[in-house]
């Protein structure tokens, strides 16, 4: 019964993803009709300028959008379930502030090597999570409340340093733009690095989906059902951090997606992580790609940071869902 419904949901979302890719490839400063794009993939002759736009500009950007949206949503869903906390998002354990500091440091110091900023952001995120986790650890256990508080404390501390760097730096504009998040300038190189980290990260999280369900019964009940709770939390946090760090290193801090997409998807498909995880991945990807398409077209040729779009259009939709549901939204 359930699995059939799940199959239907998955197939629908995959079709939607396909349509999204096709349509958003068409949209831009230069409109390229979908029929022409289909032709291009079937090997027909199209203007070479269009071919370049599709293959070198739009497609890699769409792919990165799908990956980043998927990573943020899955990380959000995972941490919300793990902590049984509706406020949890991928940034709650310090990733955003760490990545932000890493990137700000790189930009402020004027290093221009390719991939220097993503690499520094990744290192920053890793250090932040490591700090947060170890501060919260009490005798081999990591209580959720302590973890959330230590995440907030570390975030404020690192953000203070980032602000200081911004204040002192001549590249203020660049740092601000990075912090707001965006997919501008993505190329296949970015996709090649992000893809394995995010794809396999999500896949492994998916393999633990049933255990995630059991965690929703409470940590003690989960332990009675055979889950090594502390180790499980550690592994899941590591995976969620890995995919988030991989995403934000290339995209900057895109807010809202990781917090709200899991809630929206949970309303649509239910709390079972075996469908929630794959649905969040696809839905998050679709959402971010459309948001990014708006970001690059709305004031073309100027690009808006996509974080503005995700929150500006996503928040009212979420408020609508909150108000139209009579039941409590989380759970």
């Amino acid at each position: 019964m359930r699995p059939n419904r799940w199959k239907l949901i998955t197939v629908c979302l995959i079709i939607l993803t396909g349509l999204t890719i096709l349509l958003t490839m068409a949209i831009g400063t230069v409109y390229i009709p979908p029929s022409e794009i289909v032709g291009l993939f079937l090997g027909r002759d199209v203007p070479s300028s269009h071919e370049t736009i599709i293959f070198q500009v739009r497609l890699p950007r769409i792919c990165l959008g799908l990956l980043v949206g998927a990573a943020l949503s899955v990380a959000g869903a995972t941490l919300q379930g793990l902590f049984k906390n509706p406020m949890a998002d991928p940034f709650i354990i310090g990733i955003s502030s760490g990545a932000g500091l890493g990137a700000a440091f790189c930009i402020a110091s004027g290093i221009v090597l390719s991939y220097a900023t993503p690499l520094m952001a990744f290192i920053g995120a890793s250090i932040a999570v490591f700090l947060v986790y170890n501060i919260a650890r009490v005798g081999g256990k990591v209580p959720v409340d302590t973890l959330l508080l230590s995440g907030i404390a570390v975030s404020y501390f690192l953000s203070a340093i980032t602000s200081f760097l911004m204040y002192m730096s001549e590249n203020l504009h660049q740092i601000v733009f990075w912090l707001m998040g965006g997919l501008g300038g993505s190329g296949w190189g970015h996709v090649k690095i992000a893809f394995p980290l995010i794809f396999f990260g999500i896949l492994i999280i998916y393999f633990f989906a049933r255990d995630m369900n059991v965690m929703l019964l409470g940590e003690e009940a989960a332990q009675h059902l055979g889950i090594e709770v502390e180790r499980f939390k550690r592994v899941m946090m590591l995976l969620a951090s890995l995919i988030t760090a991989a995403a934000v290193s290339f995209s900057g801090l895109i807010g809202f997606v990781g917090l709200v997409i899991p809630h929206i998807v949970r309303l649509l498909v239910g709390p079972d992580h075996r469908i929630l995880i794959p649905s969040s991945a696809l839905f998050g990807g679709i959402f971010l790609v459309w948001a990014d398409t708006l970001a690059r077209t709305i004031f073309a040729p100027t690009e808006l940071p996509v974080g503005i779009i995700t929150a500006f259009f996503g928040a009212p939709f979420f408020i609508y869902l909150l108000r139209s549901r009579k039941k409590s939204i989380f759970g």
Binding site: F207, A221, Q223, G226, I227
Partner: protein, 262 residues
């Protein structure tokens, strides 16, 4: 033949001693009632027996295996616990929640199959929860939820079942029903119940462990343990302990402190 051997357990919360020299054995078919006042260590004892808490010293053997050396999953195939606090705020159906009881028996890449569904259906029949199958766990009353959690524990197919105040949320008829169920299950497993209701304990438990302040005061058959002196010492209440003339069940009537003069 399953055997549980609890051997001089000492347990501390921080520096506070909560359990001291707790020892007793249990065999297949035993229903053991743990009674004692609030804060005497009943729940803690169950948490230690279920390996949620590690004791400072002492050991617990199940079928000759030290339970603290077992993997959590291996233990969960042998031992199930129904806790008091089961607040599930997520919108799972009752059937799904009971099905989660099969978790310790499933491999990482397994899906539940007909065999698991059969076990789950049986567990729900035993606990009288079949009719709730498609309801959301969030909509149930305390008593219904209690029985669903019980069904989940049974779906684990345990050799040892630990129940922490299983009747506390239930009205009279379900209290009896749960205890009758316990009796029905007992031949195939060891059941240890922390229980407040002395009359239910007296009626259904083969052996009683009376604890006070983390120590065993008395252990044995109901007549040996539930004496007027023991009850007075532990609960600080004068009580009549007698066989009911009609039912012939042993029963305890607290009469309070006015009768002290007598």
């Amino acid at each position: 033949m399953v055997m549980l051997k609890i051997d001089s357990i000492d347990f501390y919360y921080g520096t506070k001693k909560v359990l001291e020299k707790i020892s007793f054995d249990a065999d297949d078919g035993d229903i053991i009632g743990i009674i004692g006042p609030n804060g005497s260590g009943k729940t803690t004892m169950l948490r230690v027996i279920s390996a949620i808490q590690k004791p400072r010293s002492g050991s617990i053997f199940l079928d000759g295996t030290d339970i603290f050396k077992l993997k959590q999953k291996e233990l969960a195939r042998k031992l199930a616990m129904v806790s008091q606090d089961n607040n599930i705020s997520f919108d799972f159906s009752v059937f799904e929640v009971v099905l989660m009881g099969r978790t310790p028996h499933l491999g990482r890449f397994d899906y539940e199959d007909e065999h698991d569904f059969e076990i789950v259906r049986h567990a729900m029949e035993l606990t009288g929860t079949s009719y709730l199958k498609d309801r959301s766990i969030t909509e149930l009353s305390g008593g219904e939820k209690q029985r669903v959690i019980m069904a989940r524990a049974l779906a684990q197919k345990p050799e040892v079942l630990l129940l922490d105040e299983p009747t506390s949320h239930l009205d009279l008829s379900y209290q009896l029903e749960i205890m009758e169920l316990v009796k029905k299950l007992a031949p195939d497993m060891i059941i240890i119940i922390a229980i407040h209701d002395l009359n239910l304990a007296a009626r259904y438990c083969d052996r009683i462990v009376l604890i006070d302040d983390g120590k065993i005061v008395s252990i044995g058959k109901m007549e040996e343990v539930m004496t007027r002196e023991n009850i007075k010492q532990v609960f600080k209440v004068d009580a009549l302990v007698e066989r009911h003339p009609i039912t012939n069940f042993c029963h305890v009537v607290p009469i309070g402190n006015e009768f002290k003069k007598e």
